[in-house]
Symmetry: C2
Amino acid sequence: MATGWGSLLQDEQQLEELARQAVDRALAEGVLLRTSQEPSSSDVSFILMHRIPSVNGSQFSFPLLMAILVVSYAPFTLFPSLVPSALLEQAYAVQMDFNLLVDAVSQNAAFLEQTLSSTIKRDNFTAHLFDIHKQVLKEGIAQTVFLGLNRSDYMFQRNADGSAALKQIEINTISASFGGLASRTPAVHRHVLNVLGKTKEAAKILSNNPSKGLAMGIAKAWELYGSANARVLLIAQEKERNIFDQRAIENELLARNIHVIRRKFEDVSEKGSLDQDRRLFMDDQEVAVVYFRDGYMPSHYSLQNWGARLLLERSCAVKCPDIATQLAGTKKVQQELSRSGMLEVLLPGQPEAVARLRATFAGLYSLDMGEEGDQAITEAIAAPSCFVLKPQREGGENPNKNMVLSQEVRILEWLVDTGV
Amino acid sequence: MATGWGSLLQDEQQLEELARQAVDRALAEGVLLRTSQEPSSSDVSFILMHRIPSVNGSQFSFPLLMAILVVSYAPFTLFPSLVPSALLEQAYAVQMDFNLLVDAVSQNAAFLEQTLSSTIKRDNFTAHLFDIHKQVLKEGIAQTVFLGLNRSDYMFQRNADGSAALKQIEINTISASFGGLASRTPAVHRHVLNVLGKTKEAAKILSNNPSKGLAMGIAKAWELYGSANARVLLIAQEKERNIFDQRAIENELLARNIHVIRRKFEDVSEKGSLDQDRRLFMDDQEVAVVYFRDGYMPSHYSLQNWGARLLLERSCAVKCPDIATQLAGTKKVQQELSRSGMLEVLLPGQPEAVARLRATFAGLYSLDMGEEGDQAITEAIAAPSCFVLKPQREGGENPNKNMVLSQEVRILEWLVDTGV
């Protein structure tokens, strides 16, 4: 058996056997995607009633599941990637700063309006979101608890001296995904290394359970809402290939006896309602938390769906995220945050947080036609692809105001090649 | 939400939602089968080499898995089945007796020869197995350690007074399956009950980890073989839909740093060999234990495969099972064991074990044409289908002779309707 990494990568037969092992382990661990042929489970045409006599003599019917519902594994790298521990620690340390920053932006209506004023004129999607934001503010916000599950994506920047620096690419403030599947990838990578006899290296792979961290955030919001029978409403897409990522969080909530109901925007239009106190009901069940895993792209909205979104935003259910937090995650806002002096305005009296944040700024470049865009493209070609990491962060309330709940800081074991 | 079971079974919409939840949980827990369209993973045409710059500036290639390999869930019941605890305890208690009985039969060449003499004349498959058995005995058995992983299947018999009795249907002495998948079904059934708000009932579902028990047996045999670098050879079918059941055991072994190589009989023919001490080698790797998950049906054998089986049986690797143990599991032997006085002959001086065994005998009936067969069929129609349970048993060496390793007694959560 090869012991060096170099020879390993030359041995195609061994790589294929490793891949077979890794794929089967990923499947067994639930690192799954629905296949595109059959993305919905709505055709579980399963119920074959069997009548069998029970021990005490009465007939008992039970449904036997027989449908073929096919899934495959989510793409993953065969090997884990090395992450300098200093950069991992840095990512952990700065995540609370990012969460407080997102919260500050989302609560700053004047900043959002000024920053997005030009975007709104050209971009219907942002304009629609902003319109709802304004309506909700005008009516008066019904819920003072806000839930943010934010994911920061990072690259390593190679410095001239060969050292590496952590650079944030973007922050996702709505429907940040892969926390569920990432909870199960360490077992896959440990398996690969153990097959190679690299047991010491396998033991060094950190465990990672962002699905638990995400669920803890939702559970805290549910608890603060304060109604024992209320549900978590997960706004889902009908054809969701990444459902197992979401199910991992649902399962964690169910283990805490918090029930999740999955519904589409269309279902909200048809069966959602507010009572006189703006409490949200779906199918006569009170909703404590609305968790959006849909609604982050223009294609997700029909006119009907915009109506459903407005209904949800007006409600006193805790939104994850509320529409202002979604707007705080737009590229235009992130670009604005990198302007000189802006962090100091948004986070007054917090110079250490500002310094930690600014150290991770990579700069956001316009790729518009024109001189600025040309220069950005030239630079990108000169220094191409990088690792992109996705840390997440968990728990913790903002002691100053309302609540910021966010994900555990983790380097998810996913590599994305951003090369040109 | 319905709280009674009766109303639950009437609510089709709720049953469908439950089924969707159960299916997704089963998939996420690894209760998987390969789909029949794509039963082999040999077409993992995955290796898309990516070149990305590493942190220290050198180029690093890594394979990115991209193939679509589809799986589905193994059929399961939506609800767990009630098992009277007395019968479960009885099944646990009698399993060591069954294992000792199987061991006694397998070591009793005269009994096997006499019992199977008529079968061999009519049945080519048994004749082939028996022929190998004779050859191995004649040459002299190279390995005195035997590994048995036996699965007893039970029904509940409803007595006239309404009580239930545990009746054994058969014992599987080769390639007993579903220990791996059954390790993951309790989580699915707990999920279903938790969704229904039946948290107390969910908490009562016993945990079950037969894959660990099976692996412990194989690990013990590997340890007794006594060669740190030797492998476990799993004889597998090429198109194995139930591979995840096997992978669960492989994973448990890998966690103990015991490596499993999966090969077909054909591979053994081509690349298997014995050295002068009859040590078995596959691809130049020494084999400590041969674990058969193939070779239990006539269709599994070409002439070439019979040659491979002979090679394996002649070797000093521990066989799971050896061919005598496979013969001990034939229907004809099980029928013979139910004859009056036979248990006493095979297990002399063990009247308690004999009594425990006999209490579970349901009687094996000939379905041949003729008076005996007619009567059996008439009785079967008068008292039709029953629950079939599959208990398994783990660990423990026979203190008297050689070694009997067997599976943990478990009632697997699978129901089979044996009704007419």
